[in-house]
Symmetry: C2
Amino acid sequence: MTAVLKLGGSLLTEKDTPETVDEAALADAVAAIADAVDSRGDARGVTSDDAGSDGERPTGDDRLVLVHGGGSFGHHHAAAWGVSTTAGTHEAEAVRDVHRAMTELDDRVVDALLDQGIPAVPVRPLSVGARDADGDLSLPLDATRTLLTEGFVPVLHGDGVAHAGEGVTVVSGDELVVRLARELDADRVGACSTVPGVLDDAGDVIDRIDDFDAVADLLGGSDATDVSGGMAGKVRALLDLPASAYVFGPEGLRAFLEGGDPGTRIG
Amino acid sequence: MTAVLKLGGSLLTEKDTPETVDEAALADAVAAIADAVDSRGDARGVTSDDAGSDGERPTGDDRLVLVHGGGSFGHHHAAAWGVSTTAGTHEAEAVRDVHRAMTELDDRVVDALLDQGIPAVPVRPLSVGARDADGDLSLPLDATRTLLTEGFVPVLHGDGVAHAGEGVTVVSGDELVVRLARELDADRVGACSTVPGVLDDAGDVIDRIDDFDAVADLLGGSDATDVSGGMAGKVRALLDLPASAYVFGPEGLRAFLEGGDPGTRIG
């Protein structure tokens, strides 16, 4: 079972204070992940202290890839330099600012995971991927795949990415989740943010979406050019996946990791 | 013209003091690189301040990729955890220790380059590559290639790398240089360390080596299993490249970048 889980930047950071982690939210999310990873490890008879130096690696039946967004770390640097998923920069200082801020957030996330015994290893999209002149992203996953089969939990994040003709543009956590889910044949995809799911007009969580047209008006974005990461684009991309996808808030994280149906099921 | 230049870890760091940069050596190396990059930019009528936001990117006729070793940053962590190019670890803390130390050194190198107007962008091998069970390295260069054509100077470094069956092993700067030279069809390859070239019995620099057997005894390592990064293995790997390769000390750096023949020419 391969699961791809995104922790939203809005969940992990204090939105209104630049480069500040929401420590309580990070700790809660990591605790939920640790419980799930532990129970999987126990079921395989693998202890977290020494899961492999004896050569008996788990076969990797249960694999987890994490992705997180930028929240108050990456976005303000990108905005200050005028960089988006389509508008690039040739200024190496801009690339540094965005990448360093995201690396700093990611180091905090990885440290929190390691502290709870989760074998997290960072994978930085700026080092891996490239967009062609049409903006299409290549993202060779050699490192991610081998880290997974060796029992690690790869952690990717929104980042800069080389872009033919544009210099460096942004790749969002949402784009990475969809790409990873497809290329890794993920069984389950989760997007955990601060909202409990996709909401209807009355502010209630929609249980399930399996037809974009049925909710397009509600989501306010049937425009196919929506690349802003808004809910409409996210739902459309998740609907296109063969995997079961879920959009949920922090209270749904344990249920997602245990195989349940939190928040809104998409597809 | 594509050049791949390695700056040895022994050159950039204080060997006997853990995680200490040799500031003078780094500054000298960066100054030499900045002069070479500036003169190339001037020849194309490209200024370093704004070389591309108007859409008139250089065509990338002159491309430079940098690689650096670990010196006193990476090696002692790798040694402490018992990790080498062939002996791996499944401990995520070990991966973190090696990778963070190398990232810290690389950030210092990138900052020094940026301060001199060189558009350096880090590319972290741990995020990119993977070894199969035989130790063969895959290293997809999508990001590196596009960064190059967009006018950036990619900076790679010795790092951990996922390794099937071993967890994570080490990839050395020397291994990266040879791989990059081959896959990027480099015209020139330089290895700058603290010694002025490959030395003969009398301690004098050998001008040129074009036959390994002729120097095997001298280098003390005709053993084909030498993967330690020793001089014998380095010379053998550089001889196999179609590019002209040079091994030189810091005093040869400007000559290498200007198209000269410093130190020992190999091949």
